[in-house]
Each structure stands twice: as C-alpha cells, then as structure tokens.
C-alpha cells in the first residue's frame, strides 16, 4: 500500500473543501472496497479524509412521507430499519443479498453507491484496463467476460456496476444529496448518478471533484409486492450474474431494475409498461440493442427467466 496522510473530517462541508484542495485526496468511510483496492495499489490516494465521525448516520422521515438515509448509515442498519423492512422491502432484500455480515456491518450507504467494478481485469494490474489506467485498452473485450456487461457497453469498457443496494435505490427513484467544496448542496436523481462507460470508463459517476454524499432520500412508499432475486455462482456471498429488483402491484403493473447487466443499475421505464404482458415482452424492450459477448450472452435469457420467476411469484 502507498503511504498516505490521514485527517478526520469535522463537518461535511469542511470535508468537501479539504478534499478539493488536497492533492490525491479521497474520502474513507467503511473502507471495505477502498482499502482492498489500496492494498492492490489500484487506488493510490495520497491523503485519506475519514468521514466516519460526521453525524450522517441517522434515518429520518421526510415531510413528503419518504425516508432520508444518512450517508454513513451502515448496510446492516439500513436493512434492519423497521420502516425500510415494512415499506421498502426491496431495499432490505437487496442489501442482505450482498456481501457478508461482517462487510455489511462496516459498509455505508454512500460508500456502497461508490463501489467500484469487480471486473477481473480491473483488479489485475498486469492487464490493460481503461478504467484503471485510461488509454491502456480493455483486456475484458475478447477476454474472459462471463460476468461482464451485456448492455450500455462501449469499445473502451464492458465492466459492470457490482452492487445490489443501488439496484433497489434505482427502482425506488432515490435521490443522492451532496455537499460541494464551496458549501453549496446538490440533489442528484439516482438515474443520473451512475454513468455508462463511453470513452471515459475511469469515471464511475457524476460526482464532482471533492463533492461528498451526505444522504440518500427515498420518495414515499410504492406499496405492492417487493422482490430482489439475485442469481449467482454460490448461494451466498458472491456478486450477481444477474439480479432483478421489482415492485409489482395487484393489477400486474410495476417497476423493474436489473443488476449485473450494465455499468450502472439498469432500468428502462418504457419496458415497465410491458410488465402486465410478461417477462419476455418486458425484457425485449429493456434489453433492446444489447451487445453481449460470446461468454455472457446467457445473461439476457437468465434475466428474462429471473423476471418470469418474480412475476410468477407476484401472482401467487
């Protein structure tokens, strides 16, 4: 691991200001992804700004009937919150489908949104990777791509966003609240938070330099039945090949978002209109224009079948 300076932040605005003016600075909260990458020297911050002591660890009700989740609320606490389990069960289900108990105790709401890809070529410094080293090429294209993206890819990158929580957040139309280095605040719709790789795959999201996430808000509950079906190579503690987050109402209408398919949580609102017609009709629209590789073309069929299982369960 490269040597780094370490500072404990005193307030969210101070943390953002410090991050913007300190060369090579990064925030650290749970650290479960960042420290892993620092040990491999894939991330080499010169300065860590520890935000753990900031009072951003509460879940509060908002005036419009939703929830405001502090950036530092641990995955375990978010999944276990009574209001979340009752009104946003898809979020609890997504969180407990990810990682291990130890990691969920440490991982934070904001940090989870910032989790970097698990593409094996990103993790291997001996391989070219445009996300790790811009301009070096992409070893995944033409390489072992079974786990990688099938839609929204580019000639520079076919990595996936690896997380589960954000798939549910996207389904629920969450909003990411931030503070910028000048002290001003911003609200980013979750749909606009994660990016597609394009020709700049080293940029995962739309945060600006030094901008710090302070909270994630959920609009008022949707009702309906909540599902998070995750298909993976092991029964527990593995990243998704495909995951389906869905809320289905009694009349068969609803929402669906997919994990494991793209560089960001994949939700196509136009496809949701087809949910009453079934999984095939929905998947046809959701994955129109898909660009799978030989290794991962199975994901398209797997996503459709997983959605079919969800819709079957919703009717039952």
């Amino acid at each position: 691991m490269k040597a780094f300076h370490y500072t404990r932040a005193s307030s969210p605005a101070d943390a953002a200001a410090l991050a913007a003016k300190t060369p090579g600075a990064k925030f650290i909260a749970g650290g479960t992804n960042l420290l892993d990458l620092m040990k491999l020297e894939i991330e080499t911050p010169a300065h860590l700004i520890d935000v753990n002591k900031l009072a951003l660890d509460r879940i509060e009700e908002t005036s419009d009937g939703g929830l405001r989740i502090g950036a530092l609320v641990r995955n375990t606490d978010l999944a276990a919150d009574k209001r979340v389990r009752r009104d946003y069960a898809v979020l609890t289900r997504a969180i407990v489908a990810g990682a291990s108990g130890q990691l969920r105790n440490k991982a934070t709401t904001a940090g989870n949104l910032l989790q970097r890809t698990r593409c094996p070529y990103f993790y291997d410094p001996n391989q070219p990777c445009n996300k790790r080293k811009p301009g070096s090429g992409c070893a995944a294209i033409g390489g072992f791509s079974r786990q990688l993206a099938v839609i929204g890819t580019s000639k520079a990158c076919i990595a996936t966003y690896p997380g589960d929580m954000a798939i549910a957040m996207r389904l629920l139309d969450a909003t990411v609240e931030t503070v910028k280095p000048d002290g001003s605040t911003r609200k980013i719709a979750i749909a606009d938070f994660h990016r597609l790789p394009g020709d700049t795959p080293h940029i995962d999201n739309t945060l600006q330099n030094g901008e710090l996430i302070t909270a994630v808000t959920l609009p008022k509950p949707l009702g309906g039945k909540h599902f998070y079906h995750k298909v993976r190579d092991r029964a527990s503690y593995a990243f998704a090949l495909v995951s389906v987050a869905a809320v289905v109402q009694k009349d068969g209408t609803g929402r669906v978002a997919f994990g494991g398919m793209a560089h960001k949580p994949w939700r196509v609102e136009a496809a949701e209109a087809a949910l009453p017609k079934g999984a095939a009709a929905t998947a046809r629209i959701a994955f129109a224009g898909a660009t799978p590789t030989h290794d991962n073309a199975f994901k398209l069929q797997l996503a459709e079948r997983t959605l079919a299982a969800v819709l079957h369960e919703a009717r039952g």
Binding site: A3, K26, G31, T76, R86, A89, V96, A99, H202, Y237
Partner: protein, 214 residues
C-alpha cells in the same frame, strides 16, 4: 557513524520514495483524483487509542496499519488470523463496539476510541466461552486457522438474530428472524473453512445458541 539515520534517509524512506514514482506516473482512477502527488519522504504515523479486550492501550502506527496488523504485530494478539487480507475469508473477524467486522479491511487509525473484542477476549483455556467449548465438543475445525474468526463471527451472529437483523434467507424480511440451520449457514457465509468443517461448525453454533436460550 554509518547508521542510515545519520544521513537522514532510512531504508524504508528510500523504498517509499522509489515506490512513489509509480504513483506519479499512474493516471487517476476516478474523477475525484487530481494531479499526481510527490512521493512522501517518510510514511505518516498517528497515535490511536484502543480498548482491546477491556484493556486501554495507546499505539503509534503508520497510517497504513490495518486493525488486524495492529492487533497481531503491535499488541501481539495473534489469535486473530490473517487469511486472504482482502475481506473474503473471515479469518480476521473481530468485534468492534459489539459488531463483527473484517479487521483486515479497516485501518487502525479509523478506530480511535473504539472497543475491540478478539478471540483472546472471549474466553481463556481455563474458562472457555460457551461458543469455544461448543466448537471443541463438536470438532468444529480441522487445522484451526479459521477457527478464531469463525467463533467471533458465530458469537456475533447469535446477537444479530436476537437483535432482529434480517438475512437473505428470510421468507418475510419484516418478521423477526428465527434461529435455524439455514440462518446459520447464510449468516456465516463470510467465514470460509478450507478444511470443510462446516457441518460441525453448524452443530457447535446450534448447541451454543441452545445453551444461551436455556
């Protein structure tokens, strides 16, 4: 006279400076990274206060020191094991402020003021924790390397079920979780046992849970 400190450069400092060159040439990995940073002369150190197994202690550590390395290398509490060092195997599981975490994926400096419980704090050879006794009775190990992490994790799992924290195998996440073999297996999935003692580990946890409920 030939002491490296006389010329103001330690071997470690030289190594760090050399390694720092790679950081200068590496391109930023995300939008939040900025211009390359000059290598550091000496790695920064900071004091950190920990309460480990009830005993207050103060250390000065290189900022890179993980909680795991602080426990093993600085405090010589070698019961906690280093397996993968990447949060994948669970051998380094300890409890911090009553919650289990992977001590390899946390920096010691992030735990200033925290209370840490390691396997040494759960019980002693003369006075075993009920979970330790159950692992012995049910032969919940073979080589034993993962065992301290398994036991710390198992103790925390029983607390998590009691606290109503839901798991992936719950039929209804809004309901209180019930103790079952499926729950144990799911909740213990972050602790790998390469010898494959899983069935005996489950038996040990089941017995320890029953003893506590009684």
């Amino acid at each position: 006279m030939n002491n490296p400190s006389d010329i103001g450069v330690s071997r470690r400092g030289l190594l760090t400076s050399g390694a720092g060159f790679a950081a200068v040439t590496a391109l930023p990995a995300s939008a939040s990274n900025k211009e390359p940073v000059a290598p550091m002369e000496t790695p920064p150190t900071l004091p950190v206060q920990l309460k480990v197994n009830g005993k207050a202690t103060e250390l000065t550590v290189d900022t890179r020191t993980t909680l795991l390395d602080a426990l093993r290398e600085h405090l010589h509490l070698t019961g906690t094991k280093k397996g993968c060092d990447h949060g994948q195997c669970g051998a380094c599981t300890v409890m911090v402020n009553g919650r289990r975490i992977n001590s390899c994926l946390s920096l010691a400096v992030m735990h200033d003021g925290d209370s840490v419980t390691t396997i040494e704090g759960l019980g002693t050879p003369e006075d075993l924790h009920p979970m330790q006794a159950a692992f012995v009775k049910h032969d919940g190990y073979q080589c034993g390397y993962c065992t301290p992490g398994q036991i710390c994790s198992a103790v925390a799992v029983l607390d998590e079920i009691k606290a109503g924290i839901p798991s992936h195998v719950a039929a209804d996440v809004a309901a209180s979780p019930a103790f079952s073999e499926m729950e144990i297996r799911e909740r213990m999935s972050g602790n790998i046992c390469r010898c494959g003692a899983y069935s005996n580990i489950v038996e040990a946890i089941r017995e320890a849970a029953g003893r506590r409920q009684a």
